[in-house]
């Protein structure tokens, strides 16, 4: 009995796993917004997590947008109905897609059980996430300069049978001409596995 209780104490539930993924996306997307210079650096505040200092936007509208999107995403992650989350960076003037960050979701383990849990230690997951976030921070070294006013959007690729929530709309896939992709490390909670890929315009 005691072992079972201890087991459940350290285990990660399906909802908890979705929360971990959403937390990663929140930090990851904020880090991208800062590192790629989409918004003025003054509008970011440093926050510590995963043993890193990550710069988070203080703009209320961006915060609200991200929290609503990620809250909705969390539900879909629990339902196993998301395939991919895409952060699309577009030129404000020409509406050209400049860069796309794909966060590919894979589901691991038995899909039937509602109370699915994972025994993977949280520290290990956080370390994996930290490595990805570091790679994101270092991506400025090879990604081309976004030399125009840019905005971002989040597109969630779901299964066909998902109900469209209010205030949500269907979007067109964002494709980039002459694109080049770089795959980052992946992390897994043993329930959700997430791959991060950046696709950018190749100017050569």
């Amino acid at each position: 009995m005691t072992t079972a209780a201890q087991k459940s104490k350290s285990a990660i539930t399906l909802k908890g796993s979705a929360q971990i993924v959403c937390d990663y996306l929140n930090y990851g997307i904020n880090s991208i917004l800062f590192q790629r210079g989409l918004y003025p650096p003054e509008s970011f505040k440093s926050e510590e997590n995963y043993g890193l200092t990550i710069l988070m936007s203080t703009d209320n509208k961006i915060k609200e947008f991200l929290s609503t999107t990620l809250e909705q995403l969390k539900g879909w992650l629990v339902d196993r109905s998301v395939n991919k989350v895409a952060l699309v960076i577009t030129n404000v003037k020409t509406l050209e897609v400049m860069e796309r960050w794909d966060f590919l979701v894979e589901y691991e383990g038995d899909s039937k059980t509602e109370d699915q849990t994972s025994e993977k230690p949280l520290k290990q997951i956080k370390n994996e996430i930290r490595d990805v976030l570091k790679q994101i921070a270092c991506s400025v070294a090879y990604l081309p300069l976004l030399d125009c006013l840019c905005s971002f959007d989040i597109q969630i690729y779901t299964k066909k049978d998902v109900d469209l929530p209010s205030e949500w709309t269907e979007a067109e896939p964002a494709n980039i001409k002459d694109a080049q992709s770089v795959r980052m490390r992946s992390f897994s909670t043993n329930i959700h596995k997430m791959d991060t890929v950046v696709t950018y315009k190749n100017y050569n």
């Binding site: 790629r36 510590e48 890193l52 200092t53 030399d147 959007d153 299964k159 066909k160 998902v162």
Partner: protein, 488 residues
């Protein structure tokens, strides 16, 4: 007949002697129009002379007026005419009015829609609907987006995030451009030579940010690791020390991967490894391993004992800077870090302890970070941070002045001398053609040695002592401040 006339006209244009390159002189045109007997031609020849003199770009109005006739003559003669054809474009209308064109088929260009025709020719309408094409599109989409199109929806939240304010420029520009950062306005009181005092060749120096390959000893011998050899240089003579043949004092093992950084504290030698471990070796003992520190998850690339031997600073590729406190009564450190700083956004290689405030540490981050940060290790707080706009590879404090020097990578590959604590630029020393990897200082503190990835070692005489009054004043000033720090 008129065609022959036209040919003559063209030939005369082609075979014209002298440098008639531009529009035909007015008198010639006049002459040409005089030869034609038709009075109505006079009218249009005026038009010709006008348009030719007003450059070729004015062909549009004529084109609009007498389009059909103009096309008739132009089409068949397009190839042989080449450049003069431009000139003959305008004369054609008047000739064309007389040309009998019934003997051949000449399409009317103005009446046909070329864009549409091209589209119809190159585009097969049936093709886009063919099942194989649809299948191909579907497979392509699946490959691109990792999922079946038909079973997938792309959703996004309607209330989009705002874009950056108008007029905002990407601050990351500094990484990509070579613009110089503004230097401080205040001019320095002493002369700092802009060119290196001496340049030494350093072939095969490893261009690796994470290694520390050069130092300048207290006995004024300079050591640099080039490839598999260690070179020692002493004022003009270069002695080559082959690692395998020279007298080696001892080998100390214990690391599983390469050792990129070393630091001495009395008889303790601390070494940082790619595995993230730091080992303390007591060089006097047979069992040399004193302690193992596991505070980094990735390669340790910066390792420095403070000048008073109280703290050890270690920087890693995991962007972490750790401060370890010395063990009471020993020269090695405790195994848990006193402070862990995660403020740097890139690997921390450049570390330097302040010579006059032994608890102040300067640390510099890599490309994604570009900051020099100052830490008070007694309190564990970040005192100051400055964006250098470039990768910080090395840092050194001056012994003679309240200044420090930093070595940078892209874009200027320069050394910058900063005034401390105001952090205004005293001088920028350029010369290296690749990033400045390492810095070392001569024992008297007057000369800086920099090793660049361009395989040169450069000596800069930038901290020469001047024995004037101002310097003595500075020394006096610095003394009480150090005392104050001790009391606090």
């Amino acid at each position: 007949m008129s065609q022959f006339k036209f040919w003559n006209d063209v030939n005369s244009l082609l075979t014209m002697e002298g440098p008639v390159k531009g529009p035909i002189p007015r008198w010639q045109k006049k002459k040409g129009s005089d030869t034609s007997s038709n009075s109505s031609l006079n009218n249009s020849s005026k038009l010709r002379s006008l348009s030719t003199s007003a450059l070729n770009s004015t062909k549009t109005p004529t084109k609009g007026n007498e389009n059909n006739d103009y096309q008739k003559n132009k089409t068949p003669r397009k190839t042989p005419l080449k450049t003069p054809s431009k000139k003959s474009k305008t004369p054609t209308p008047n000739k064309g009015s007389k040309t009998p064109s019934g003997d051949r088929f000449i399409p009317s260009r103005s009446a046909s829609n070329f864009d549409l025709a091209h589209y119809k020719l190159t585009h097969d309408e049936d093709e886009s609907d063919s099942p194989t094409r649809q299948e191909l599109q579907r497979v392509m989409f699946e490959n691109l987006h990792g999922g079946d199109v038909s079973s997938q929806r792309i959703l996004s939240y309607k209330n989009k995030a705002p874009s950056a304010p108008e007029g905002f420029q990407n601050p990351m520009r500094v990484i990509y451009t070579q613009t110089k950062t503004p230097a401080s306005v205040k001019s320095s009181t002493r002369y700092i030579p802009q060119a290196p005092d001496r340049i030494l060749d350093a072939p095969d120096i490893v261009d690796d940010y994470y290694l520390n390959l050069m130092d300048w000893g207290g006995n004024n011998i300079l050591a640099a690791a080039l490839g598999a050899h260690v070179y020692l240089w002493n004022a003009g003579t270069v002695e080559l020390w082959d690692c395998s043949r020279s007298k080696r004092l001892r080998i100390m093992e214990g690391h599983s991967a390469r050792v990129g950084s070393l630091s001495w504290n009395s008889y303790i030698l601390s070494s940082g490894c790619r595995s993230g471990q730091i080992l303390h070796h007591d060089v006097r003992q047979r069992d040399h391993r004193v302690a193992t520190l596991s505070g980094h998850s990735q390669e340790v690339c910066g390792l420095k004992w403070s000048t008073d031997g109280k703290y050890l600073a270690s920087g890693g590729n995991d962007n972490v800077l750790n401060i370890w406190q010395v063990v009471n009564g020993g020269h090695y450190s405790q195994t848990t870090p006193l402070h862990t700083f995660t403020a740097h956004q890139a690997a921390v290689k450049a570390l330097a302890w302040c010579p006059w405030q032994p608890h102040v540490l300067a640390s510099g981050g890599g490309t994604a970070d570009r900051h020099i940060r100052f830490w008070n290790c007694n309190t564990g707080s970040c005192v100051n941070a400055i964006d250098t706009k470039s990768q910080v590879c090395a840092l050194l404090w001056s012994l003679n002045y309240k200044e420090l020097v930093s070595g940078h990578g892209f874009a200027n590959n320069e050394l910058i001398i900063w005034k401390y604590p105001s952090m205004t630029k005293v001088a920028e020393l350029t010369g290296h053609t690749a990033r400045v990897l390492h810095l070392a200082m001569s024992p008297d503190g007057t000369t800086i040695l920099s090793a660049g990835a361009d395989e040169t070692l450069r000596l800069w005489k930038c901290f020469t002592k001047n024995t004037t009054k101002t310097k003595d004043n500075e020394k006096v000033k610095s003394k009480p401040s150090a005392l104050k720090q001790c009391i606090r």
